[in-house]
Amino acid sequence: MSALPPYATPGQRVWFYSFRVICGLIFFFLIAPIMVIIPLSFNAQDFFTFTPEMLALKPEGYSLKHYKDFFTNSDWQAALWNSLRIAPMATLLSVSFGTLAAIGLSQTHVPFRRTIMAILISPMIVPLIISAAGMYFFYSRIGLQGTYLGVVLAHAALGIPFVIITVTATLVGFDRSLTRASASLGADPVRTFFKVQMPLILPGVISGGLFAFITSFDEVVVVLFVGSAGQKTLPWQMFTGLREQISPTILAVATILVTVSILLLATVEILRRRSERLRGMSPG
């Protein structure tokens, strides 16, 4: 349906265009909130409101003060720093454990495969409030509540399903005879892993890692329960902001994050194309 065939009837034509309009509206629905956030983040006032000056497109209705606030306010900077300290650690944990396990799971003979898989995916399925409550009680008992390690472990657990899912998906297309060839040429399993298998599944690993990273970077419920002041992340600060004070700084942060997201998404897309080239598929 890439194009309308020349022999289409008028009815088909109408349907073709109205369908596109419908899809356009749904896409609009999808990005509408983001389109609201971006202009509001340049609001000269301290409320989430389109002021008459903004609607009249007058320059005095707009300002960069919320961005300035984000870059100069120590709370926001501390939160950013905490997020940057927690998310990569959590990602590293979920990616390294997750990749190993995904390789294990893609072997032909894995006893209790279904059960194991169900357990490993469960952090994605169990409602966050339940995970958060459970971790809160349990981590309190073992002294991990309110510690950096506690938050990292919790976030790593939440990121694992994403790594498992993306890496197993990549391994589906992995040609096992390559490892056998490598072994028959005298490489030990470790060398085979790093020299043969890893480069081929790397795109899957990286995109799984990106998912895990975003999971941690955007997570607020669990960190609210498991963390304490020393682990106040960006989403936590945003949550406090929404609850306790009215400041479009939150929107400025969101705009920055959306920009970062676009960059990350572009990275994933480039990686995907590279991976398909490597696998000998057409880049589409």
């Binding site: 349906m1 469960s122 409550a133 994050l257």
Partner: protein, 577 residues
């Protein structure tokens, strides 16, 4: 995005398993491997090794998830039935209450009140009584203040005893004397001390082991059992909690009461033959035993707070005395555990069944709207050239990556009565300024915002299934004379059903656990059960109820998860990678 295929059925080379089966099926005598073993055995060993290697690779992660994730969930499940606080705080009262027939129309007998005095005195010292009060207040309103006010006034009950004893012999006012008296001579009664260690450890949840510089003598323990018991508890508390030296501290008032009760209870005769340390003071006290007040503890308690004369409070205490209770689960389905068995809650207190129903209903509506909006988009994406599709895919993934909090607040800006949508509608003249639409702080607000938030979870699985439906099917149908609609409805749609199933269950599972979005845009009629769970965790502190509600929710999710696994297999979830 890769096609939907099960990893296990992907193209693969022959494996030891296949060979073993092959060897097995061979009837013509054992085949031998190069090392001389039967081939079958050798292959089976290889198979075992392979399984082991796979498990070794999985083990670290499995262990990690079990410890960091599954154990916390299990711990939470445990809290939903755990109820040790009553037995730990009032152990002797619970024991004494076991004999009380709560069908009878009277209050518990005197021994229950005596036990309560000692339990409550110690609990008040350890500041554990108000926590028990708040626990029981979940069941019967008013118990919280009953315990709080009574805990402070236990000293008043004890005062008359102390005065008489100190008049009989001033040594009773001296902590060092008490220490000598209780340490006595000869063997120590270690089992009594250990019982008290357990009692205090359960009450305070602190370690009570080790030497505390005191042990009651066996002789005194036989002579004055209550006093020895209460003094040991005092000694343990002094040494372990207050970190003081036992011999330097004056004992609690409860110890005087214990001694007085011992003396009134035949101890006055028994101490006549006693010759150990403090014998003179004991005998002086025994001589004055008739001056010790005969206190009716029941009366005394009712005087402290007439709540103790209310049978309902006692019935609640008895009903909730076992270490495990179904009470929290009953509460979470609007029932109540009372002395007369399970009863329905008062009509104006029933919320949870309604909330569960609402959560289910709204999740269904959200799932349905996601299908409605997700299907055309997924179809478009699946049928456009790869490059265009991937660009449009960014529009799907962008909201997915934007902070949930921010998207929810954005919806607030859009939907409120003075918000962007209403302003636009008024400007266009579609609605009048007075007739602005209520789009937020109700169910509609929750549905709109959550449909938006969960839509990518519908589009992604749908898209990956639709990618696998060959376009030739539709063309074939049409060439056989089907209209566009028939071709779609009879050929394409059935092929896409697995995608709808996968997406629906994913969206449904995610939506019934949502909490932040309904809280912010749901008003009063658009909140979910998760909001109550969060409330009970952080505000009302009724953790047991939160755990029970969570367990029920979890059970629902796991059932769906199981269905999902049966239908599509969990390893087939695709995330646009």
């Amino acid at each position: 995005m890769a096609d939907v295929t099960d990893a296990t059925t992907a193209r693969r080379a022959p494996t030891p398993d296949d060979a073993a089966r092959l060897a097995d099926s061979d009837q013509s005598g054992p085949m031998l491997a190069a090392d001389g073993r039967p081939l079958k055995q050798s292959l089976q060993r290889a198979l075992r090794r392979e399984k082991l290697r796979a498990l070794m690779l999985i083990a670290p992660l499995l262990l990690f998830v079990l410890v960091t994730f599954i154990a916390p969930i299990a711990d939470m499940l445990f809290r939903s039935v755990e109820n040790q606080i009553v037995g730990n705080t009032l152990p002797r009262t619970v024991e004494a209450l076991a004999d009380w027939n709560d069908d009878a129309e009277e209050l518990p007998p005197e021994p229950v009140f005596r036990a309560l005095f000692f339990d409550l005195f110690l609990a008040a010292e350890a500041k554990a009584h108000t926590r028990l009060g708040s626990r029981l207040n979940y069941e019967t309103t008013g118990i919280s203040s009953l315990f709080r006010s009574s805990g402070r006034r236990m000293d008043d009950v004890a005062e008359p005893f102390q005065d008489v004893l100190e008049q009989a012999d001033p040594q009773f006012g001296d902590g060092a004397f008490w220490y000598r008296l209780m340490t006595g001579e000869g063997d120590a009664d270690t089992s009594l001390l250990n019982d008290q260690r357990e009692r205090l450890a359960a009450l305070t949840r602190e370690g009570m082991g080790g030497d505390i510089g005191f042990a009651p003598s066996a002789e005194i323990a036989a002579l004055l059992p209550r006093a020895a018991r209460e003094y040991s508890a005092f000694a343990l508390f002094t040494a372990r909690i207050d970190n003081d030296v036992v011999a330097e501290e004056d004992p609690w008032e409860s110890v005087y009461v214990a001694l007085a009760l011992d003396l009134q209870d035949g101890g006055a005769e028994r101490v006549q033959s006693y010759a150990g340390p403090g014998a003179d003071a004991l005998q002086a006290a025994a001589a004055n035993a008739d001056q010790l007040p005969v206190v009716d503890f029941r009366e005394a308690f009712i005087e402290v707070d007439d709540g103790w004369g209310d049978r309902t409070n006692w019935e609640t205490m008895k009903t909730y005395s076992p270490p495990f209770t179904s009470g929290y689960f009953l509460n979470s389905v609007d029932l109540q555990l009372t002395a007369d068995g399970v009863e329905a809650r008062e009509e104006n207190q029933r919320i949870y069944v309604m909330l569960f129903q609402r959560t289910m209903f709204m999740s269904l509506v959200i799932t349905f709207s996601c299908i409605l909006l997700g299907y055309p988009v997924a179809w478009l994406l699946a049928n456009l050239p790869m490059r265009t599709a991937n660009l449009l895919m960014i529009l799907v993934l962008l909201p997915f990556w934007t902070s949930l909090l921010v998207r929810t607040s954005a919806w607030k800006v859009l939907l409120q009565q003075q918000g962007v949508i209403n302003d636009t509608l008024v400007w266009l003249g579609i609605v009048s300024d007075g007739g602005r639409l209520a789009l937020i702080n109700n169910q509609l607000g929750t549905i709109i915002a959550m449909t938006h938030i969960l839509l990518p979870f519908m589009i992604l699985p749908l898209y990956s299934v639709m990618k696998t439906i060959p376009p030739t099917y539709l063309r074939a149908a049409k060439s056989l004379g089907a209209t566009n609609w028939t071709a779609f409805w009879r050929v394409y749609f059935p092929n896409s059903v697995p995608g709808i199933g996968a997406g629906s269950i994913l969206v449904f599972i995610l939506s019934i656990g949502y909490y932040i979005t309904p809280e912010l845009v749901g008003g009063t009629t658009g909140v979910f059960i998760s909001n109550r769970i969060a409330y009970h965790i952080s505000s009302s502190l009724n953790w047991g109820l939160a755990a029970a509600l969570g367990t029920i929710l979890l059970a629902a999710v796991l059932a769906l998860y199981w269905v999902y696994d049966r239908m599509v297999g969990i390893d087939n979830v695709k995330l646009g990678g």
